[in-house]
């Protein structure tokens, strides 16, 4: 394991401190652990909290700020934060308008946020949640835990955050967050694994000519493994699955080409070149594109494509002002 870190035990802590020190006008860290809140609490609006394991930077703490989140809770690398941490975050940001928890659909995250939500409700804070499950690589069925929450989560933050900023009530913010979830689908692929510092070993092995299709953001296996192919063909593989999951015909969409951490922007742009062509050919109109690192997997080499189907409300909220360290809309 070759990493620019100090000690394995302090990775999460030093990272969060380094982030807050970089953006003190945006962010503040609570004393109780790796909980990041806005430097200036905004009253009179629904407060948004999200979080999950560390290792997905800039998610989620990079999205704390005007027009997006009010708090982000960072667990150990790839491990959901604990209920007491989440509860501290909720208490720090709670307003009379209530708190919305944006949770990625992993058993651990769901259970820990659920416990925190129960504890907050006991303290008289009204808390609602949405569960993001945009990863079409895994099957959604009544008999499984359903799809994973991946990069689409960032679009939920953006749009629900913008809605909250308008002063909308908790039910309405929850509803629009759920609308994003219902309309966004994502799939990824990886050509090289990442290494959780505490484990010291790559999360999976791929030989020099292999890729994992449908990879999860923690390196979880996807739909299958096959020989690596030209970027356009890999892109087609993912797009096919995404576009056949919801009917995008004639719709306007937002596109996110997300880098897994070690994939150069050069490759992400090459991928977008093909995504843009395919969507155009299919008559799907791209309203907005985001290319970059939004929901990473430490230093995994790979990418994901997210496509969000938009209506007028979502378009307006997507284009609303956002001012956070990692996501800005002027």
């Amino acid at each position: 394991m070759k990493k620019l870190i100090n000690s394995i035990d302090n990775v999460e802590n030093e990272m969060i401190q380094g982030l807050v020190k970089a953006y003190p006008s945006y962010l503040k860290k609570l004393d109780c652990g790796n909980v990041v809140v806005r430097a200036n609490k905004k009253e009179g609006k629904v407060a948004l909290i999200s979080g999950g394991g560390s290792g997905h930077e800039p998610a989620h703490a990079g999205y704390v700020g005007e027009g997006m989140l009010d708090a982000a809770v960072a667990g150990a690398v790839f491990t959901s934060p604990t209920p007491d941490q989440i509860l501290e975050g909720i208490k720090a940001i709670a307003t009379d308008a209530g708190v919305l928890m944006v949770v990625k659909n992993y058993t651990g995250d769901v259970m820990n946020f659920e416990m925190a939500g129960e504890m907050a409700e006991e303290e008289g804070i009204s808390v609602k949640q949405v569960i993001v499950n945009d990863d079409v690589a895994v099957q959604d069925s009544l008999y499984t835990v359903g799809r994973r929450g991946v990069a689409g989560t960032v679009l939920v933050h953006k749009i629900a955050g913008a809605m909250a900023e308008t002063g909308a009530c908790l039910d309405d913010v929850q509803a629009v967050a759920q609308k994003v979830i219902d309309n966004v689908r994502t799939m990824g692929a990886a050509i090289a694994p990442c290494t959780v510092p505490a484990s010291g070993k790559p999360g999976f092995d791929l030989s020099e000519d292999e890729m994992e299709v449908g990879i999860g953001i923690h390196g979880e296996p996807g739909t299958h493994r096959e020989k690596i192919r030209p970027a356009d063909e890999v892109t087609d593989l993912l797009l096919d699955k995404i576009l056949s999951d919801i009917d995008y015909t004639d719709s306007e969409v937002a596109v996110m080409i997300n880098g897994a951490g070690a994939t150069p922007l050069m490759e992400l742009f090459i991928i977008n070149n093909h995504v843009a062509d395919v969507l155009k050919e299919k008559g799907i109109k791209v309203y907005e594109t985001f290319v970059g690192e939004y929901m990473t997997s430490i230093e995994m080499q790979g990418f994901s494509i997210s496509i969000l189907k938009l209506d007028d409300q979502l378009k307006k909220l997507l284009s609303a002002k956002a001012d956070t360290p990692a996501f800005k809309v002027l």
Binding site: G53, G75, A76, V77, F78, T79, S80, P81, T82, P83, D84, Q85, Y106, T107, G108, M111, N112, M115, A137, V138, Q139, Y143, T144, V145, R148, V196, A198, S199, K201, G203, F204, G216, H218, G219, E220, P221
Partner: protein, 208 residues
Amino acid sequence: MVDNKKIIEILHSIATVIEENNSFLTELDNVIGDGDHGINMARGFTEVEKKMDTLADKDIGAILKSVGMTLVSTVGGASGPLYGTAFMKAGTAIGAKTDMTIDDFIAGLNAAIDGVKMRGHSTTEEKTMLDAMVPALNAMKDTISAGQRDTSLVLSTGVAAAKSGVEHTKDLIATKGRASYLGERSLGHQDPGATSFTLILETICNNL
């Protein structure tokens, strides 16, 4: 069966065993999960170790509840709320005793299982820790029904059943937890949580 002093001793042993099996459990989780189960459990039990001195004089229920709370607030992931709830529920079931019987133990495990099922919205045959816990509980109940009350012997039938439960998880397609994303690709691999539970039960058995 055991008093509160012994419980503390057993918890120390569990912490040691978890630490020793950190890489093994992580390795298992690498295959069908995200490669952190050993790390998570070790992080939790290291914290439990640190709190142990302050628990020495407490009753068994209080000790177990405190262990549960520590696990909930330090483990994270899926296993944190699950093991945390399990220990807390067991503590509540056993109550403010300083000495417990094999029946108390059975009642505690029973409550722990209910807690895991409730928190995890899960049941057996889903390739989770329940597939070691439930067979272990049933085997011990059967042993007792058959008239056996020697704790070591009862426990050892539980351990044996947990171990076959772990083996059985290899034949299951996961439908809960992270391994469920794998679908059929989860076949052939044993569940990390079922394995860690079995290690814990075995440590209890060995320390009686």
